[in-house]
Symmetry: C2
Subunit: 331 residues, 2 copies
DNA sequence: GAGACCCATACCTCCAGGGTATGGAGAGGC
DNA sequence: GCCTCTCCATACCCTGGAGGTATGGGTCTC
């Protein structure tokens, strides 16, 4: 059974006449008669009651035509949906980001912006360490990602600068420098540094270490925190200080204060995406990020909003559509 | 776009290979390649990412295949449903009956029985006077009906005897014969008779009149009741008596008593159906009625059940399926 | 009874879907 | 490094079935 036959049946039913239906279908009446007969043979029952003034539907005819209409409509809809998917307006986009990027209002704002601009694209959020994100790219399990790549780490992928933010010091509130308005790296030469493992995020690790070396010392590293958020908690215990991207200051933990660094190095967040079988939605996302990046942060209402609400209880009043979901994965 | 192309796309997606899919579809691989390419041209985007070891779906491909599967399944289901409709197991059956027949447990039992046996046949119940039912047959707006035809009235239709029941007297409870166990027609010679208009039901009217004449008198007819149920209410007012089918005794109204007639005439209910473009479900219904009619009433659990519950508040605990409905029309 | 209308049958045409042969490109084995 | 295998694409040919024309049969209308 082919859709053509469904179309013919519907036409005959609507015109209540083989002759008129054939005219509408731009085929000859005998051809139509034969095709309808073929359908009736396949069904095993007459679909039309041939009368003297046209035809009427039999009961199986009524039932078939009712279904045929929906089948035809859905077939057409399937093609349209595929086209939309081709344009990137519909489908699935897997967005990865590192824990440190997830606190950046530019990143969260871009994702939210994308979801409202393209509501039919299902967004899957994947928070993982840079190394795992890159592994996902290699195996095709990720479309775009915000991360902080080390030099050369993403040469095989398309990448574009998304946003930069200065690093700040996170220190116990009882630290001797805690009273200062800003802190120089050199003054932390004797402190223990809490960082997370270098393999999980080479770029940030290396830039912190090299900034210290530029300030004239090699940091004493207590490399114990698996997650970025646990770094802050460890700082709160007083065992050491840390250097984190400024947006981490949103995580206001009792016993931790954040202070700007004098001559602070910038930590860049890069948007990376696959280049070979690249879904169009990833291109749309990259374009959206690019246009956001070209605007100053103050002009981004979402980002500003994000910063204000970040420390509150429900930072994101997500009114999600039924049927659409934003899945989030963490390791 | 034809279903064949959907089938091809699904096969390629499932096999992840043009070669294997072609083998499964029993066509040559180049033919399949060409057809898929045609689809991709129509969509405007590649559906498959050609790799070295087979192919993978692109995003528009994923979207199309997901829809294609449901379209294919529904197309197949449409054919199956039409076949079922042809066998009478699915569709619409319009069952008519007169008011007097609607009180007969055989009739209601048969309808209920049909609904449980063929749950996918939507039953439309139409309660109208015999004359209107016959008019509906003439214009094809009815499939089967329970009625009491006058001689020759249904010769152009298929008809079969369904059930017979004796006539009984309905009289005011203060009537002088009310105390008797059974009543002879002759003893009612001086009473006024409440009947409904002859054109609405010639058969019953005529059989009552001729029974009276056989008993030696012409009834004085107060012909004022448009509905059968109002006959009973009028009897309750004390202005006269009536002769009704025994199953009407279910309508227990204060002030009315029913008494068997001595040598009571039988009132037959006939099942009538169209013969020309007859839906198969009407045949199934007629067969069901025929098999019920061949069994004695005592062996019909539904009928017995019906009689017991008829005078209660909710005579029919209709647990109807969602989506299916039993429509009822009255004039 | 002639004409109109409508669907069915008979027979012919032609193109699209399918087949065979072959090419090209990358992966893997020796 | 070359051969081979795998897999998809291209080129070209063939055939079945969809579609066209001519015509017939039945019924209603005028």
């Amino acid at each position: 059974m082919e859709l053509r036959l469904f179309r013919y049946c519907v036409a005959v039913a609507e015109e209540a006449s083989f002759t008129r239906a054939a005219a509408r279908l731009r085929i000859a009446q005998p051809a139509l008669s034969r095709q309808i007969k073929a359908v009736e043979n396949e069904i095993g029952f007459a679909l039309f009651q041939r009368g003297l003034r046209g035809v009427t539907l039999t009961e199986p005819g009524r039932v078939l035509i009712a279904s045929a209409r929906t089948v035809l409509a859905e077939a057409e809809a399937a093609v349209q949906k595929a086209r939309r998917a081709g344009r990137g307006e519909l489908g699935l986009l897997r967005i990865g980001f590192t824990a440190s990027a997830s606190f950046n209002p530019f990143v969260t704002g871009a994702i939210r912006d994308f979801r409202t601009t393209y509501p039919d694209v299902e967004v899957e959020l994947i928070e993982e360490a840079t190394s795992f994100l890159l592994e996902r790219f290699a195996t095709g399990r990720l479309d775009v990602a915000f991360l902080r790549p080390a030099p050369g780490e993403v040469d095989h992928l398309l990448s574009q600068r998304a946003v930069a933010e200065p690093l700040v010091v996170a220190m116990p509130s009882g630290h001797k420098q805690a009273g200062r308005k800003s802190v120089s790296l050199a003054s932390l030469a004797d402190d223990a540094f809490i960082l997370y493992p270098r393999p999980n995020g080479r770029a940030l690790f290396d830039s912190i270490v090299s900034a210290c070396q530029a300030a004239g010392f090699s940091p004493k590293i207590l490399q114990v925190a698996p997650q970025l958020t646990s770094v802050v908690n460890l700082v709160a215990t007083g065992i050491g200080v840390s250097i984190v991207p400024r947006s981490m200051a949103q995580v206001s933990t009792d016993g931790v204060v954040y202070r700007p660094l004098i001559h602070a190095p910038q930590a860049e967040i890069t948007l990376v995406r696959r280049n070979q079988p690249e879904p169009r939605s990833a291109v749309l996302f990259a374009e959206l990020v690019r246009s956001r990046a070209s605007r100053p942060a103050e002009m981004l209402p979402d980002a500003a909003d994000d910063r204000r609400t970040a420390s509150r209880k429900a930072p994101r009043p997500s009114r999600r559509k039924p049927g659409k979901s934003t899945r989030t994965r963490r390791r």
